[in-house]
């Protein structure tokens, strides 16, 4: 029977992610009159259970910043300040707000819906310089979330034949459909804790996608999930791969080091292809300076999938280029070589929010690879220095089932948000979004287009 793809979410709360944005300070001169309790509709203020004459300390993480208690306090005894714990989360890219949003998505599995208009900056760097389009007059596309038409979020990984040249020697196209344009990566921050790896791989298994795993991190409990593992091995260590069950996996990634020879790569590919005919083979690149001939070599090596790595902030390892621009360049280069249709592009690094997935697809990727965001879903605070034995989120001690469900919740919320973006555009298949630059507005272009003629004559356009 036909079954519509659906992600089952359920509420999973964690005590370590209960960090409110604000802190309410009750001054000594509070009269304990209880007016704050009357005016708060979020149960922040309560009387002390042991002595009902007194007010207990405010439950800060429930506070929603409405100022009702503060402004209705007859004695001006309450004050609100920013919560320092909250401000300390993450860094300039993984902002406290981004982390907080992922936590909520991982907890509830729902699209974040709030009242009042947008509150952020007009624009920002990277992903925040892109707006996605919508269509005023479209066929109805609002899908599953509200029970109307279906929007497909499946994408195909692997090599598609550009045309058939010889029917007698017809190679079956080796592609694999994943149900969401998102793959997982177990390597963020170099953490090799099994307590994190297992739930990520199980979540990938349940959701019908792949999770990347370095061969050095493989352990026996992962055996039941081999079909959902993308085994990753560096080209210079390819001889070690025989120690692992690589012949049973569906997906192998070869990490291309900075210096390598094409014959070495061809040899490795030949070996992998001869003994595991069905596996998808991807090449992991951190340098996209494809003009230097490597591109042609990749073409000769018949790479089916390119996985472009950026760092956790989305910056490329070589040169200071944001992942959107790297992917746009890669996409263009492939189009120029007339091989875009044959190659799958994956983008890893800096995918930190639901909107980054459609945006990176618009830039030219087929699918996004999530890494640090999975850890954040588990409760990670993206500390400046990561110490597993002294982790404030107790990541090493987490119950794998809880983590798995939190990751599934986050992906459920992200997929639903992807559907929102697609439905607003009137697109019913995420495959059609790939490289659709026309369905996005880029800050620099639109600012110039709109304001150049205004400010040019005043000499004020920057």
């Amino acid at each position: 029977m036909y079954k519509r793809y659906h992600i089952e979410t359920s509420l999973v709360e964690l005590s370590t992610t209960k960090i409110g944005k604000f802190e309410i300070i009750r001054n000594d001169y509070c009269l304990n009159c209880g007016q704050c309790m009357t005016h708060c509709i979020y149960d922040v203020h309560k009387r002390a259970s042991d002595d009902p004459r007194l007010m207990s300390d405010p439950v800060n993480h429930l506070c929603k910043n409405c100022f009702s208690c503060i402004q209705n306090c007859p004695y001006h005894a309450l004050e609100m300040v920013k919560n320092k714990e909250f401000e300390k989360l993450g860094n300039t890219y993984w902002t406290p707000q981004i982390i907080h949003t992922i936590w909520n998505e991982a907890e509830e599995g729902k699209i974040p819906v709030f009242g009042a208009g947008y509150r952020g900056r007009f624009r920002g760097r990277g992903f925040d310089d892109i707006w996605t389009d919508m269509s005023e007059i479209v066929r109805p596309t609002r899908d599953g979330i509200h029970g109307r038409e279906y929007i497909a979020t499946s994408v195909d990984l692997g090599r598609k034949l550009p045309w058939i040249s010889d029917f007698r020697r017809l190679d079956l196209p080796n592609t694999h459909e994943i149900k969401i344009p998102m793959l997982f990566d177990t390597s963020p921050l170099g953490i090799s804790s099994r307590g994190i790896i297992l739930p990520i791989i199980r979540a990938a298994h349940k959701l019908g996608t792949f999770a990347f795993l370095g061969i050095e991190n493989y352990f026996a409990e992962l055996k039941p999930y081999l079909k959902s593992i993308a085994l990753r091995c560096s080209l210079d260590k390819i001889t070690q791969i025989d120690q692992f069950p690589w012949k049973e996996v569906n997906f192998i990634e070869i990490v291309i080091p900075r210096k390598f020879s094409i014959s070495e790569l061809e040899l490795a590919l030949k070996k992998l292809k001869s003994e595991n005919r069905t596996a998808l083979i991807s090449l992991g690149l951190s340098d996209f300076s494809l003009s230097t001939g490597i591109f042609k070599q990749l073409k000769e090596a018949r790479a089916a999938i390119l996985n472009f790595y950026a760092d956790n902030e989305g910056q490329s390892f070589e040169g200071d280029i944001f992942i959107c621009d790297s992917i746009r360049k890669l996409q263009l280069a492939l189009v120029k070589e007339r091989m875009r249709g044959e190659v799958t592009i994956l983008a890893k690094g800096g995918i930190a929010a639901a909107e980054h997935v459609p945006k990176i697809i618009i830039c030219g990727a087929d699918a996004a690879v999530l890494d640090l965001s999975l850890l954040v879903a588990a409760g990670c605070r993206v500390c400046k220095v990561c110490k597993m034995d002294d982790c404030p989120a107790e990541l090493a001690k987490l119950d794998p089932e809880t983590t798995e469900q939190r990751i599934i919740n986050m992906i459920g919320a992200w997929r639903d948000q992807l559907l929102e973006i697609l439905s607003a555009m009137g697109i019913r298949d995420v495959r059609r979004l790939r490289g659709e630059k026309g369905r996005a507005m880029f800050y620099e272009e639109i600012e110039r287009e709109s304001f150049e003629f205004i400010f040019k004559e005043n000499g004020s356009f920057k």
Binding site: G117, R123, T132, I137, N458
Partner: protein
């Protein structure tokens, strides 16, 4: 405007929030000198009391006062007064609605006067769009206060706009270049709706019903209430269409373009559901788009349909801002619309997915320019009224929209801020707004007395009109209509 009466209308809270906090130390012996000194009523000694009351910090201008004759801190004989930056200040507002903007809007709603302190009341801190440019002249400096009074009170500078520029149809003029945006019964409370309608009537402008039906309580304000027909058709009937001078087709909303309205189940109380002819406590998601409109021809059919029911009404078409918004605008013109209402991506809402507010469709600043330019090129600009909404917070945002090419603006969130909104963003679920503005909870909505609220909005509008008149005077213009498209009056803020 002689019919508009400005009255002082204080906040409804015990404590107001300001930028500074003023405290009296223990050494204070309550001599009362500060009470005499401070013209901003920070200090008060209640009748029959020996002690000076806890200072009303919100009125304090802070160190700006230092040069003036009233500076309390140095005059206090025992140095008991301390003025500090309120740490609470930082918790208020956001990049678009900065703490300064919120507080100055509240001040304007209280007094109806242009804010006098050092708080920024013209511009936000979002770093782009309206916040990245200003007028080549400052609207206020270097005019004597007498002159200012003259300009404000005289009728020599006009701020009125006409809402129908076609040869046929009713001619409706509003004295200020803005009217109220659609906010439905369900997203906001009935007292909030009444406050908006009452102020719209006082100012002879309009407010819109939004998507949730037309409550009977609004009928006395009928000449100033726009009936909105949105994709869900909630509460729309022939009767409500006949009642109104302007009919607004809402194709999309800037905060959630391409998605249709959201009313989460918690707020769909029995009274809201009855008005919407829906089942109580069920979430209501309007469809997108109008299922009867899949082309501009269908759109024309739609307009013909309401024109058959109410031949005298003007037609407004509310659309959000996709990259082809210029085509949509021209299409609407040819279909017979009188007003094109562009709702930009950063606009207000009672409930919308965060991803949609931030990412889908372009900000209004770009759309105004694009559509205005295109309509001019098509040669139809003089026959259609172009109104902008979605992130227009202040009088200066309105003026900037007009300078970019709009005829006027449509205001939503600012009305609510006048009623005391802090933009905490919790209107979407639970009992709704804890401050009683955007709620359907029968207990919470009692916090707003609609006549109080109406006066607050009337005052805010009065202050805005004064600002516009002064700005026009400074620019050497006599009529707001002359400002339209005058981008030469704008400059990038970095270039100051």
């Amino acid at each position: 405007m002689k019919s508009v009466e400005i009255k002082i209308c204080n906040s409804r809270f015990h404590k107001n929030i300001g930028k500074y906090t003023v405290s009296l130390s223990d050494s204070c012996f309550h001599c009362g000198l500060c009470v005499e000194l401070c013209p901003y009523c920070v200090f008060e000694r209640k009748d029959g009391f020996n002690h000076v009351s806890t200072p009303n910090s919100a009125g304090c201008l802070g160190p700006e006062c230092k040069e003036g004759p009233y500076y309390c801190t140095t005059k206090c004989p025992v140095d008991a007064i301390k003025i500090e930056l309120d740490p609470q200040w930082k918790t208020l507002g956001d990049f678009r609605w900065t703490p300064d903007l919120l507080i100055t809007t509240w001040q304007q709603a209280e007094t109806g006067e242009i804010p006098s302190g050092n708080l920024e009341y013209k511009i936000g801190a979002s770093g782009g769009g309206f916040d990245s440019f200003d007028f080549t002249v400052d609207g206020l400096t270097a005019i004597s206060s007498e002159e200012i009074d003259n300009i404000i009170s005289s009728d020599k500078i006009s701020t009125s706009i006409c809402l129908n520029r076609r040869a046929e149809g009713a001619s409706i003029e509003i004295p200020v270049p803005w009217y109220g945006a659609g906010m439905s019964f369900g997203s906001i409370s009935l007292p909030s709706m009444l406050a908006r309608a009452h102020s719209a009537k006082a100012w002879k402008t309009f407010t819109s019903t939004g998507e949730g039906g037309y409550p009977d309580e609004l009928i006395p304000y009928g000449n100033h209430v726009i009936t909105q027909i949105a994709t869900g058709l909630f509460g729309v009937s022939e009767e409500t269409i006949k009642r109104t001078p302007i009919i607004e087709f809402k194709y999309a909303q800037g905060a959630k373009p391409g998605l249709g309205g959201h009313l989460l189940g918690d707020k769909n109380t029995p009274s809201v559901a009855e008005m919407r002819e829906a089942v109580p406590w069920n979430s209501l998601f309007s469809p997108f788009p109008f299922h009867s409109v899949y082309s501009v021809e269908d759109h024309k059919k739609h307009i013909d349909w309401v024109k058959t029911i109410n031949p005298d009404a003007l037609i407004s078409v509310k659309v959000s801002t996709p990259s082809d918004v210029d085509m949509v605008a021209v299409g609407s013109y040819y279909a017979g619309a009188n007003i094109i209402h562009l709702d930009g991506g950063y606009g207000g809402t009672g409930a919308a997915p965060e991803i949609a507010k931030k990412n889908i469709a372009m900000p209004i600043e770009y759309a105004i320019t694009k559509v205005h330019k295109f309509l001019v090129e098509e040669g139809v600009r003089e026959e259609i009224v172009l109104l902008a909404s979605g992130g227009i917070r202040t009088a200066f945002d309105i003026a900037k929209s007009i300078a970019l090419g709009a005829d006027g603006a449509i205001i939503g969130t600012s009305d609510l801020v006048a009623l005391g909104c802090v933009r905490c963003g919790n209107c979407e679920s639970g009992r709704g707004c804890p401050r009683g503005i955007a709620t359907t909870d029968p207990e919470l909505e009692k916090q707003i007395d609609y006549l109080w609220g109406a006066q607050r909005i009337i005052n805010l509008y009065a202050s805005w009109q004064k600002q516009l008149k002064l700005l026009l005077y400074k620019l050497g213009l006599k009529d707001i209509k002359e400002l339209r498209g005058r981008t030469d009056f704008l400059r990038h803020i970095d270039e100051k």
